[in-house]
């Protein structure tokens, strides 16, 4: 009897703990913003004014809000890929390069086949973009599986290579013929055919149909990770590689697969950016989404559905940062620094989650199995597994 009551007590505490765990990223973000405020004070800037301008710019007006959602779109796509990779225990820092590859491939296809009907060309461009990203992520995945090359380092190098490839293409083979004719040589491609432009959800704003696609994909990724065998194996590989190997899962192959899928989502983000926003390949198209997407994924606790609000928040920070720079002249790089702090504090806060999980595991170890005390990323055990 006493055992029963203690178990119901521990399950109530479990719910409270989970709520606390889910709020930790919010807490980490507030602390990071506080650090940013102190920094601004030292620089002689009024932090309330700066943050006020930031949040008004991001969420205060209809135009700001639509821009925020437009920026949330590629962030969400990248973050979904990051969820898959990190869940498999592979760290994909290569978002930037994969976005570039996706954008290049989607633009090239749309420019090469200007006579295809709209819907077909859209599907083709987005698919090819995703494939190109998958290829770029796959290089790192295969190098890790086959040769044990650290994927963090290889993806960083692949980012740099993709950037140079883009510089080369936009100054040569892909340079807009009109730019050549006018002699201005602004490094950008020709405008994509009209029928490949994604429809705008609100007229005369940047908000486009890519957002719906991204949200649908978030739900699909959730189903994939928690309701399919492959998804289950990907998570098993990340939670405990040696146990997964013991259970007969080809660990390396699944790590490579996770990297390929992760790259596909980033590539799709690039394709969506060119077809939804810019309507051509331009320099600076990645906008740091490859990195900010990591922040969003961590903020959403590596859960595809958590990534949706997280992407909107961080999309808002990006939009607000530009507004802040224009209205109160505080450089937008403030937000990059704050994002870095958020990453640091969120990964550090996992310490408390793990410690409690371990304590809980000791207390009830006879009746319940504890969470795996893996010193790497914390994997919340919700999600109906």
């Amino acid at each position: 009897m006493s055992e029963k009551s203690s178990r119901s007590g521990s399950s109530r505490r479990l719910t409270a703990d989970r709520l606390f765990d889910a709020l930790l990223p919010v807490l980490a973000t507030l602390i990071a913003l506080a650090f940013g405020a102190i920094l601004l004070l030292f620089l002689g800037v009024n932090p309330l004014e700066a943050y006020g301008a930031l949040f008004r710019g991001a969420f205060g007006t209809v135009s700001g809000l639509t821009q925020t959602l437009a920026k949330a779109t590629p962030l969400l796509l990248v973050a979904l890929g990051i969820c898959i990779a990190f869940r498999a225990g592979v760290i994909n820092i290569g978002g930037e390069g994969q976005i570039i590859l996706g954008a290049i491939a989607a633009s090239a296809v749309a420019l090469a086949l200007p006579n295809l009907p709209g819907i077909l060309l859209v599907i083709l461009a987005l698919t090819v973009g995703a494939l190109a990203g998958a290829f770029w992520g796959g290089i790192a995945g295969v190098l890790k599986a086959r040769f044990g090359v650290n994927e963090i380092l290889s993806t960083v190098m692949l980012n740099a290579i993709a950037l140079q490839l883009m510089n080369f293409l936009l100054r040569g083979p892909m340079l807009d013929p009109e730019q050549i004719a006018a002699g201005t040589n602004v490094p950008q491609s020709a405008t994509l055919p009209l029928q490949v432009w994604l429809p705008r959800l609100v007229p005369r704003t940047l908000l486009h149909a890519g957002l719906i696609l991204a949200i649908v994909l978030a739900i699909l990724v959730y189903i994939f990770l928690w309701r399919t065998t492959i998804g289950y194996r990907i998570r098993a590989v990340g939670l405990n590689p040696s146990a997964a190997r013991y259970a007969g899962i080809p660990v390396k192959r699944y790590m490579a697969l996770a990297m390929i899928l992760s790259g596909a989502f980033a590539g799709l983000a690039g394709a969506v950016e060119v077809t939804g926003i810019h309507h051509r390949m331009i320099e600076g198209l990645t906008g740091g989404y490859g990195f900010t997407g990591i922040v969003a994924a961590l903020f959403g606790k590596l859960h595809p559905l958590g990534a949706i609000p997280a992407s909107i928040i961080f999309g808002g920070l990006l939009v607000g940062a530009d507004k802040m720079q224009r209205t109160v002249q505080v450089p937008s790089s403030l937000v990059v620094a704050v994002n870095g702090l958020i990453v640091l504090f969120v990964v550090a806060s996992d310490y408390f989650v793990r410690r409690r999980a371990r304590r809980r595991g000791r207390e009830v170890s006879e009746t319940e199995t504890s969470g795996p005390p893996r010193p790497a990323m914390d994997m919340p055990q919700e999600g109906g597994s």
């Binding site: 800037v45 820092i93 380092l153 990591i294 450089p331 403030l334 990964v347 996992d350 010193p375």
Partner: protein, 311 residues
């Protein structure tokens, strides 16, 4: 065209700037070697370098005192190292991700400070060449090796210092022990986390030096993201060098010489490949090198594994 590259004066020039350009790689990669041998993968090197580069530049820009600039870079590096060790050692964060956080923090903060405190790209006069008497008079050899600034010489001295640290000192032995078998080290009374704090903070101070070498010696300028990923290559060089100072020296020289070749090719307008593709070369080379070095040398057994006393 290619024959221009083969003239004696050009070859001497390429090798001379190879030796020079290797200095920031050496500082950053040697420091990272110490951090990794202690068991901590610090991926934030590039961010620390950016902060070091800015601090050194700003101090020199305001005071004109070069050594004060170096001290500032080291000090700021140490601060960044403390931040990294609290997060990664005490709070046992996943090191690959915390390093990216530190990188973003350094990237954003150095740009913010630069824009608020300086505002535009300015030049300063940095360290001057200091030819070593007698040795610099040796033809060819003297020109290549003995006509550099003091920070460049010091980078090579550090190779010996780190070698000495690992091979001949108790501290070096402790660093190696906590990176290889922290449980055993702990049972012998070595403070595992304390030694790791030392490894990370020392590495960060060296990364600060690497940044200073860029901003007040090699380039004498600061701008956003001036390192351009150099810190990440430095981390790769640690793998390439098999976690040994002499291996790191070899890798740094190889990379710097390739970069120098590419810069000279650009300057002399020799187009072996389009210049955007030439710029890719060091990164492609890094990947190739990682393929060949992975699995060849065993990494510190406890690298990237936070330590917790069991029980």
């Amino acid at each position: 065209m290619i024959s221009e590259l083969l003239q004696a004066s050009v070859i001497i020039g390429i090798l001379h700037s190879g030796i020079r350009l290797a200095a920031p790689y050496l500082y950053a990669a040697l420091g990272e070697t110490v951090a990794q041998r202690s068991g901590v993968l610090d991926l934030g090197v590039d961010g620390i370098m950016l902060m070091g580069a800015f601090s050194a530049f700003y101090v020199v820009y305001e005071t004109g005192n070069l050594w004060l600039g170096v001290a500032a870079a080291i000090f700021v590096g140490i601060l960044m190292g403390v931040l990294m060790s609290v997060i990664s050692v005490t709070y046992q964060a996943e090191q690959g991700i915390s390093g990216i956080g530190l990188y973003m923090f350094g990237l954003g903060l150095s740009s913010l400070l630069f824009r608020v405190l300086i505002g535009s790209v300015e030049g300063i006069s940095g360290f001057k060449e200091l030819p070593i008497p007698v040795l610099s008079d040796i033809p060819v050899i003297g020109d290549i090796f003995f006509d550099h600034s003091i920070l460049v010489y010091l980078a090579y001295v550090m190779v010996l210092v780190i070698w000495f640290l690992f091979e001949k000192t108790t501290l070096g032995l402790k660093v190696r022990a906590v990176g290889q078998n922290p449980e055993a080290a702990d049972s012998l009374g070595v403070g595992v986390n304390r030694v790791r704090y030392f490894g990370v903070i020392f590495g960060a101070a060296m990364a600060g030096m690497a940044g200073a070498t860029l901003s007040i010696d090699l380039l004498n300028v600061f701008q956003d993201n001036i390192t351009n990923g150099l810190g990440f290559i430095a981390v790769a060089l640690v793998y390439f060098g098999g976690w040994r100072p002499l291996g790191v020296l070899l890798g740094s020289l190889l990379f710097a010489t390739v970069s120098s070749l590419q810069l000279w090719g650009q300057a002399l307008d020799i187009q072996l490949l389009p210049s955007d593709l030439m710029v890719m070369l060091p990164y492609v080379l890094t990947i190739v090198v990682l393929v060949f070095s992975s699995g060849r040398v065993r990494q510190p057994a406890a690298l990237n594994k936070p330590f917790e006393r069991s029980g």
